[in-house]
């Protein structure tokens, strides 16, 4: 007789970040086997993109990753610009940086809320989801949409900023900084938070490198790898910043890394707003979008998302439609290579917060 039994975490389960399922096998209260079961969000993006013009694809790409859509737009735009050999205007670079960092702030506050909820603290999730909403208001102002912006496009950004928007961004940064004091008091300095997460779900430096981790998992293990620093895109090359790292690689370190990244993002927004040229074009001269033919070639464009390296591998064949687009979501590796190994040996109570602390985003690998 077997002592173990199977339990489905998801797809209809609050402990799973999105529509996704993890089959776990438990012995008593301890996980002995974990297997991800993706595909609930499969929409055949890569197939659909092959059948659409470059300009039509703009409507599709933000929908690849729901919590932070702007990274898709940036990576797609960079891939097309790379193939066409276009240099975007200075002001557009800064606007991209501000938008991307604002999206990161929105994502990280959202992540904080869901992480606290998996640990049982619903107060923080109520607060942080509410505060994230004010960032969406700022997006609403520049493009008229809260979640899917389609603001960054090949050649620059779609339109210039509305007057006074920079000041409202700075106001928001100030507001979030004030709120972060409360967040720290209720969650990040909470003794029980430390107790629940310290030493849990450890990914050591060697393991992180071997398994191909990126983003916060790698930074929490002590490797300062960040696309913003290593291969600067947008205006990151002009800004002055350091990548935060910690050494333990456990769930606590990953949460603290994300907390530090939030500080870093707020700082980067302030720097970018200060350094941004006040006038100038925001989009390079582009050919007629419906006839826009992209020269044949292959390229790989990557950006740093809140979860890790997010990349687009694009192949064009000298027509108006891409020949093949492959999307690299950071969660792909994080789920199927890392989470399935890290979950083994965890207690049932820790499964949910381990998944969220690795920041598994199902739409990224279902596509």
């Amino acid at each position: 007789m077997s002592k173990s039994y199977e339990l489905f975490i998801g797809p209809n389960h609050p402990g799973i970040p999105g529509n996704f399922s993890v089959k776990i096998e438990l012995e008593g209260d301890t996980v002995v086997k974990a297997k991800g079961d993706p595909g609930y969000l499969h929409r055949a993006f890569e197939k659909a993109m092959e059948g659409r013009y470059y300009i039509q694809n703009l409507a599709l790409i933000p929908r690849i990753c729901v919590p932070e859509p702007d990274i898709n737009e940036a990576a797609y735009a960079m891939a097309v610009e790379d193939l066409m050999g276009i240099e975007i205007p200075e002001r557009a670079k800064y606007i991209r940086t501000i938008v991307l960092e604002l999206a990161r702030v929105a994502n990280l506050t959202f992540w904080m809320g869901s992480f606290a909820a998996t640990l049982g603290l619903y107060t923080l999730s109520q607060w942080s989801f509410g505060d994230r909403d004010y960032a969406l208001d700022l997006f609403n102002e520049i493009c008229g949409a809260r979640v899917y912006h389609m603001f960054i496009w090949p050649g620059g950004v779609r339109r210039d900023l509305p007057p006074g928007w920079e000041d409202r961004v700075l106001d928001y940064v100030k507001y979030i900084k004030e709120r972060l004091v409360d967040y720290d008091n209720i969650f990040f300095k909470n003794v029980m938070f430390k107790y629940r997460t310290k030493g849990m779900a450890v990914v050591t430096k060697e393991q992180a490198i071997e398994w191909g981790a990126t983003g916060p998992i790698l930074k929490a293990a002590g490797v300062a790898q960040d696309v913003r620093k290593d291969d600067p895109y947008a205006a990151y090359g002009y800004l002055d910043f350091e990548i935060p790292t910690l050494t333990d690689g456990d769930s606590w370190s990953r949460a603290m890394i994300r907390r530090m990244e939030l500080d870093l993002s707020l700082d980067l927004i302030e720097q970018a707003v200060k350094k941004m040229p006040k006038k100038g074009p925001v989009c390079a001269k582009m050919p007629n979008p419906l006839k826009g033919i992209v020269p044949a070639g292959e390229t790989y464009a990557k950006v740093e998302s809140a979860r890790g390296e997010h990349g687009f591998y694009m192949v064009s064949d000298n027509t108006g439609k891409p020949y093949r687009v492959a999307v690299r979501g950071a969660s792909h590796t994080h789920m199927f290579t890392i989470a399935e190994k890290v979950l083994i040996g965890q207690r049932l109570a820790d499964v949910s917060h381990t998944l969220v602390s690795l920041d598994i985003c199902p739409p990224e690998f279902d596509r």
Partner: protein, 295 residues
């Protein structure tokens, strides 16, 4: 005779009403701490009536349906053992010890019903519920013994009477009172002890397969449960009360403090919770017991 029947009807209704108002306040307090407006104040009544008016009921067998009723019956029985100012009914000798036994029926009834479903989440939830009960019962029994030794009686009404004129057990046995608060808090299953229902882990645990009328009964049971736990704490440590108004105010004070604690704690794991209960509350309760014995 008529008055006895009248009291027999009134006491559970009163307990239910008090539990219901507490749930109402809980929703509002939670909302305000979370910077929300919150649901309408009579939302729990809507919820309850809606559940009872559901057209379908899915049952997984007789025991599954019987579980919530056993739990509810146990809770109603326990209500009679707690003295309410002016309405004493079953408060004969030895009731405190009987009460401790009867209070366990609620959890056992739920375990019985939920155990009849094939859902592993429910089974895990039950094992957690019983383990947690095992955890907080040890310090609870110790402090009850120390209170019994203090007043040389097991009769709750006598214990309340002995605390008259402000000689609350809270002042005479402060250590026991603190432990009593922690144990009551744990028994209510608020954070960090909401391990039983933990939605992110076991998807509301024992209640996972319950819906409609069954869930309605479980919600009523929960209201009784809140009343019993807090009323017991008030009677043991805050000197009961001479009239209903003060009784309610004292209970509400205790509940309010508990709700504020509920908002800032994360969830324990089940073994941590049991370890916690068997460590500090038990040690402090034992010290308190020794103090009583030495006095």
């Amino acid at each position: 005779m008529v008055s006895t029947i009248l009291i027999a009807i009134c006491v559970p209704l009163l307990a239910f009403a008090i539990g219901l108002t507490f749930i109402m306040f809980k929703l509002k307090i939670t909302a305000r701490v979370q910077r929300r407006y919150g649901p309408p104040i009579i939302q729990p009544i809507y919820n309850l009536l809606k559940l009872l008016l559901k057209e379908d009921n899915i049952s997984h067998g007789v025991i599954f349906s019987l579980g919530p009723i056993i739990a509810l019956a146990g809770s109603i029985l326990a209500v009679f053992f707690i003295p309410i100012p002016g309405l004493n009914l079953l408060t004969g000798s030895g009731d405190l010890i009987a009460l401790l036994y009867i209070m366990a029926i609620g959890s056992l009834g739920m375990a019985l019903g939920a155990g009849n479903t094939a859902n592993p989440n429910a089974s895990i939830g039950i094992s957690r519920a019983l383990t947690l009960m095992f955890g907080y019962d040890l310090p609870l029994v110790i402090i009850v013994i120390s209170v019994i030794l203090q007043y040389h009686t097991t009769n709750l009404a006598d214990i309340v009477a002995a605390q008259a004129n402000g000689h609350w057990t809270l002042w005479t046995l402060p250590l026991s009172a603190i432990v009593g608060f922690v144990v009551t808090y744990g028994a209510l299953g608020e954070h960090p002890f909401d391990i039983i229902t933990a939605p992110h882990e076991v998807a509301t645990g024992p209640m996972v397969e319950y819906g409609g009328k069954h869930l309605g009964f479980l919600m009523i049971n929960h209201m009784f449960h809140i009343y019993i736990e807090i009323a017991l704490f008030v009677d043991l440590f805050l000197g009961g009360a001479s009239n209903l108004f003060w009784f309610y105010i004292k209970m509400f004070g205790v509940f309010f403090i508990m709700m504020l604690c509920d908002e800032v704690f994360l969830r324990f794991k089940i073994d941590d919770a049991v370890r916690f209960f068997w460590k500090w509350p038990t040690v402090v309760a034992l010290i308190s017991l020794i103090i009583v014995l030495v006095k």
